[in-house]
Symmetry: C2
Subunit: 179 residues, 2 copies
DNA sequence: ACAGGCATGTAAATAGTTACATGATTCG
DNA sequence: CGAATCATGTAACTATTTACATGCCTGT
């Protein structure tokens, strides 16, 4: 079958209750997006493919007169999801423009380099605040989503702190010849 | 001009000394790949584009009879690189299949869920070992690359530790109803 | 002689984002 | 009434990976 990881995000999101594409997108944006994002351009076509493969089924559930299709997982879909969850995780990729810039910061003055660390710190603090807000918004959460959320809160905090420490460290080190 | 971040990786890599596409790829794989990867399929076409734009210049430097083109940065290229480095970093994305699986681990037995954490821990420890090996391989490094490398070592350690803590925590918590 | 590394490149496929289009409903 | 949100979708683009092809050079 060979589904993409994004397909499994969808399977996971409709496992507990039927959801529309729009709802899935909103859920992703408040949860997995920090380690696995998905856009409408992926979600809607993927919903169609999963329905064709018989892993989910759609049904019309209009809200008032507004057209709306919700999808729920089938027994095949649940089995497929579980089989995937049992495989050891492979993908682990990061695109971090801040670290990349810091890596090349020898081409800048020290003050400009410190600016990168400050911007990075602000990024982490912002992510941290958003994660905390999500935690407060939702009342009680299930064990695993909560664990992951709290991990996100901890790691963004750690990272912000690292930026602060490195700022101090670089400030204390002698300015190197840039070329 | 609108260059991709990957173009700046190349500019940064040829800033100090002329490099071939092959060397750039090897450098990336030993440094930025942990936060910004690049494949041959990106590097070679990008080298051509950058040369056309006058940001780098290529020259033939065969090794023995083996054809080899090395590229070095131009004054325009340096200015372009520095201008980019001064812009606040934007992109910050992660694709972490482990966290994604952990997020949905409620569909598994607790033992299977713990397996995910163990696999994640192994992933971080492996990354940590590779980073340490890189640090030992290279003798003395410049301030910023070294800072970034040490940050990578610290964070992979922190993460491996988190996995361990979470394993213990989940083991201690009562098994929830999976549906 | 052969394996492994050096070196360059491309085609095809996959993944993913962005921008746009459309239209209904709800709330102030 | 107008703005925001609900809702679905697609086209175009950009990014990126994978697999393949080619061939030389070095060391065993």
């Amino acid at each position: 079958m060979e589904l993409s990881a994004t397909a499994y995000v969808i399977l996971g999101m409709v496992r507990k209750e039927p959801r529309s594409g729009y709802e899935i997108k909103a859920l992703v944006d408040n949860s997995t997006r920090f380690f696995w994002a998905a856009s409408y351009g992926q979600i809607y076509p993927e919903l169609r493919r999963l329905a064709e493969a018989g892993l989910i089924v759609g049904s019309e559930r209009p809200t008032g007169g507004r057209k709306r299709t919700v999808y729920e997982i089938t027994a095949d879909g649940e089995e497929e999801l579980r089989a995937w969850l049992r495989q050891p995780p492979q993908v682990l990729e990061t695109r971090d423009e801040g670290l990349l810039k810091l890596f090349f910061a020898g081409a800048l003055t020290r003050e400009e380099a410190l600016e990168i660390l400050r911007a990075m710190r602000a990024q982490r603090l912002e992510a941290n605040a958003r994660l905390r807000a999500i935690g407060e918004m939702k009342g009680e959460m299930e064990l695993f989503p909560r664990t992951v959320l709290e991990g996100g809160i901890e790691i963004t905090e750690w990272y912000a702190d690292w930026c602060e420490r490195m700022e101090a460290q670089i400030l204390a080190s002698p300015e190197e010849r840039s070329s």
